[in-house]
């Protein structure tokens, strides 16, 4: 709902918002430029003093105006021709042209009406309204993504376009809210729908008919500082019935030109004051600094427009087409999906199609949209969910458990939960299990027992379908065809072998970059854009299930590199280690944004063992900016499986790597990488205090040992791996 409120106005208004934000940002410079280029009146200068100086220099002065920037302009006649100039308040002399800046006028007309008159003003106002809706709905989405309002500025994870979108939004949203709200007020005011017009001139007593009072005799001009002046109009020289008209920050008055008496005065109305304040807040005229800040924030809009469209396209592509999806209110079966990469969605699509085929109405949606109040015709709720990381909710299920727990009572219709995962992970289907347990604790009745699907097994899925069919009293045959990712042939260009002596044959394999069409490269698809830490999927011959390896190189390196250890009877590792230079394998790329080094300047603590060095070496290789990197590397024996030994020395000399600590588990003094960590405990605490990020890559046992060691190291400082994880400063890539 909120996402829809964010997406559609955004896409529709994208073009108008681009024009408005760019022109607005350009306009924001003018108030500051005007302020800096205008000589300011001294605080002690009164309107009378100023007017006398101008009159001395230009006897036929008609009007003096003061802009909120402090710029003073005078209009006078000389030899029958109208003259005008910006005035130096010290001398009363003109110093610069008072003609409006043509560029500023052009930008203003573009910004407020797109050169289309009143119709354009309404279009621009619609753009501002869309901006307001975007800012409000975006605020809710940012809070939701960060995990609560208090974590508004928490570090972000995920793909760059999504991160950039939110990074800019959470800073710029305040300015965009202000700009759009004030824009709407100004439009309403321009169309005269607010009672903020000029008050009709108060009844004035007739002028005396005499002329010649000196400006210094006029109390109000003498007592009001020039800084409060807005305009002073002089009486026409040949008209004794004419008067002085003065406008200040407080109101408008007329003065007798013979006696200097105040003939009439009207204060600014409350509405006028509000409208003027809003005008100032929007344009920065009178608040130049604020104007610049708003202008800078407006510059975020083009970037957010582009990243927003990319996000929308990415989400649109990733989601399988579900034909004939019923609305939440009409469906008999509600199918909720928790998916990170999209594969669970493809199972959901199979289930959706099968149920629809036997005449059911089915509504499929992300788990995060869970809203039982809308499921008025539902007879059952089915949940298909993967698990993210160490038992976390996948992207499309964020917030589900909190929402379930906050329900006063579980929904009356029964539930079925099916988890998707990989049995080799200890947190196998941990999130799905947590969902099922929370539901049961809530007293939610189960349609079929909790079940799990291992490694996308189509057999498991078909079996679960039959159980579900029995419970529903229908015959349900789920035939899921795994979508094989589009693979490209990758040619091996070099290999380096290690570890044979320590019974761990390992190789660094380097493949040539496959040819990727330009548009796919620009779109960042396939091998168009990747960096160390992303995953290379290899489809071994004789299997439809891909295996994933962490990349030790990025697109910029110009090659694809992975580190593979041969497992006894391992199908894929066996094939890979059997490759000769020139051979090819079928591979594809999968982004793994959670395990990127990022672009920060804070120190990096990299911890890895064995083949886990792969992505870590990639981070060090890419560290052209010499961010301080501390690498802890666990090997078996320095003579046998010290992967990247030569490069690591070279990188250290080049400054890419600050410090390298190795731990050898065999030899004279066997020790593990966690032992090396404990030896450097004091330095690690210091680095963490400086904002360092920890990245761990390697086997499961090593990661557990490292986590334990770090818990001990950090405890005295009041920190823990869990705390760092929550901030995104402790990430693992574990296998």
């Amino acid at each position: 709902m909120i996402r829809g409120l964010h997406r559609w106005p955004g896409l529709l208004a994208a073009l108008v918002l681009l024009v408005l934000s760019l022109s607005g940002a350009a306009l924001s410079i003018f108030p500051t430029a005007e302020r800096l280029s205008s000589p300011q009146a001294a605080a002690s200068l009164s309107i009378a003093d100023l007017a006398e100086r101008v009159q001395a220099a230009h006897p036929q002065v008609e009007q003096i105006r003061r802009a909120p920037s402090g710029r003073i302009t005078a209009y006078w006649f000389e030899g029958g021709t109208p003259q005008s100039a910006v005035i130096d308040p010290v001398t009363g002399q003109g110093i610069a042209s008072a003609d409006p800046n043509p560029l500023e006028r052009w930008l203003t007309n573009l910004h407020r009406s797109l050169f289309l008159g009143d119709g354009g003003r309404i279009a621009a106002a619609a753009g501002a309204a869309a901006m307001l809706v975007l800012a409000l709905s975006g605020t809710v989405l940012v809070a939701r993504r960060a995990g609560g309002w208090r974590r508004w500025f928490a570090p972000l994870r995920g793909p760059i376009s999504g991160r950039l979108h939110v990074e800019i939004a959470r800073v710029a949203v305040a300015g965009l809210l202000l700009s759009s709200l004030t824009a709407l007020w100004m439009t309403v005011s321009t169309f005269e729908l607010l009672p903020d017009g000029p008050a009709s001139p108060a009844m004035q007593t007739d002028p005396s008919g005499r002329v010649g009072a000196s400006l210094a005799e006029m109390n109000i001009l003498k007592e009001t500082p020039a800084a409060e002046l807005r305009s002073l109009a002089f009486p026409a020289p040949d008209d004794a019935a004419d008067v002085f008209t003065v406008k200040t920050d407080r109101g408008t008055g007329t003065l007798d030109q013979g006696t200097g008496a105040l003939l009439a005065w009207s204060d600014l109305t409350g509405w006028q004051r509000i409208s003027e304040t809003i005008y100032m807040l929007h344009t920065g005229q009178g608040a130049a600094g604020l104007g610049l800040i708003l202008g800078l924030m407006a510059l975020g809009v083009p970037i957010m427009t582009v990243t927003g469209v990319i996000l929308w396209l990415a989400g649109w592509r990733a989601r399988p087409r579900i034909r004939g999806n019923a609305t939440a209110g009409r469906a008999e079966t509600i199918l909720l999906v928790g998916s990170e990469g999209g594969s669970t969605w493809s199972f959901a699509a199979t289930l959706h199609a099968a149920l629809t085929n036997i005449g059911q109405t089915v509504h499929a949606a992300a788990m995060s949209s869970f809203d039982p109040a809308r499921y008025v015709h539902a007879q059952r709720i089915l949940i298909l969910t993967a698990t993210y990381g160490d038992g976390d909710a996948p992207a499309s299920a964020k917030g589900f458990i909190d929402r379930l727990q906050s329900l006063p009572a579980a929904p009356a219709v029964p539930l079925a939960v099916l988890g998707f995962g990989d049995r080799s992970f200890p947190a196998y289907c941990a999130f799905a299990r947590a969902v099922a347990e929370t539901a049961e604790a809530k007293g939610w009745s189960m349609l079929v027992p909790f079940d799990m699907i291992d490694r996308q097994s189509t057999q498991d899925f078909a079996r679960w379908g039959r159980v579900l069919g029995v419970a529903m009293g229908v015959e349900l045959e789920l035939v899921h065809e795994t979508v094989v990712p589009a693979v490209l042939p990758l040619t091996l260009v070099s290999r380096r072998d290690y570890g044979a002596e320590v019974q761990a044959p390992t190789a660094i394999l380097r493949f040539a970059l496959p040819k990727v069409p330009l548009w796919r490269r620009l779109a960042g698809r396939d091998f168009g854009r990747f960096s160390a830490g992303d995953l290379l999927g290899i489809l071994p011959e004789g299997s439809a299930v891909p295996r994933f390896y962490s990349l030790a190189s990025g697109r910029r390196d110009g090659f694809i590199e992975i580190v593979v250890r041969k497992y006894p009877a391992g199908l894929c590792s066996g094939q890979l280690l059997g490759l000769e230079v020139g051979d090819t394998v079928s591979g594809f790329l999968r982004a793994n944004a959670g395990f990127h080094a990022g672009r920060g300047r804070t120190p990096l603590i990299l911890i890895g063992a064995g083949t886990g060095i792969g992505p870590l070496a990639g981070f060090v290789r890419a560290n052209a900016r010499h961010r301080p990197i501390y690498l802890f590397f666990g090997i078996r024996h320095p003579d046998s499986d010290f992967l990247y030994a030569d490069e690591l020395t070279a990188w250290q000399q080049k400054g890419c790597l600050r410090q390298l600590a190795t731990a050898c588990s065999r030899g004279r003094m066997p020790r593990y990488v966690q032992d090396a960590l404990r030896e450097e405990a004091a330095d690690i605490v210091k680095l963490i205090r400086k904002g360092a990020k920890i990245m761990v890559c390697g086997g499961r046992g090593m990661a557990a040992g490292v986590s334990e060691a770090l818990a001990d190291i950090l405890a005295p400082a009041g920190l823990s791996p869990a705390l760092l994880k929550a901030e995104g400063r402790y990430v693992e890539d574990v296998y």
């Binding site: 043509p102 006028r105 321009t190």
Partner: protein
């Protein structure tokens, strides 16, 4: 070209019982290229003593800016009712405004003066941009305004 047949029936001072004593008068106002946004203009008539008699036309759509037509605004108190039905769009720089009104014969050669006040956003207000006596002889004689009007003529 804008033709308002009974425009002046709205202002009591210029009302006459029958159109028989009135004739169509065309006012042509051409603006100079003063380098600004569209100008607001007010055309109005004062009598021999300088007292406001009535308005002929106001160009400019938003009444909140009428206060910048200073002379006209002071004379009328900014009452929009005064110009109900005799307003139009503002006039861009270099453009021409042509209006034809049925004016009472008695307005000519009787000491009445036609005034035009002009104002442009972010530029000087120009009350009495043009002030010409209404005479039959004066018709078709172009007059130059003080700041924004390149030429003004009225013809019968």
């Amino acid at each position: 070209m804008k033709t308002i047949l009974t425009a002046l029936a709205l202002t009591t001072a210029l009302t006459f019982p029958s159109l028989a004593v009135a004739r169509p008068v065309t006012f042509t106002t051409t603006l100079s290229n003063y380098g600004g946004d569209g100008a607001y203009l007010a055309l109005y008539v004062t009598d021999a003593k300088g007292a406001y008699v009535g308005s002929l036309w106001v160009a400019g759509g938003k009444s909140k800016y009428y206060e910048h037509l200073t002379g006209w605004y002071r004379a009328t108190g900014g009452r929009v009712a005064e110009i109900n039905g005799i307003t139009g769009a503002s006039v861009g720089a270099g453009r021409t405004l042509e209006i034809t009104l049925d004016l009472a014969d008695a307005l000519f050669d009787a000491g009445y003066t036609l005034h035009i006040d002009a104002a442009v956003e972010d530029m000087r207000d120009s009350p009495n941009e043009v002030a010409v006596p209404l005479t039959t002889n004066g018709a078709k004689t172009p007059v130059r305004g003080r700041r924004y009007i390149a030429s003004f003529t009225y013809s019968m």
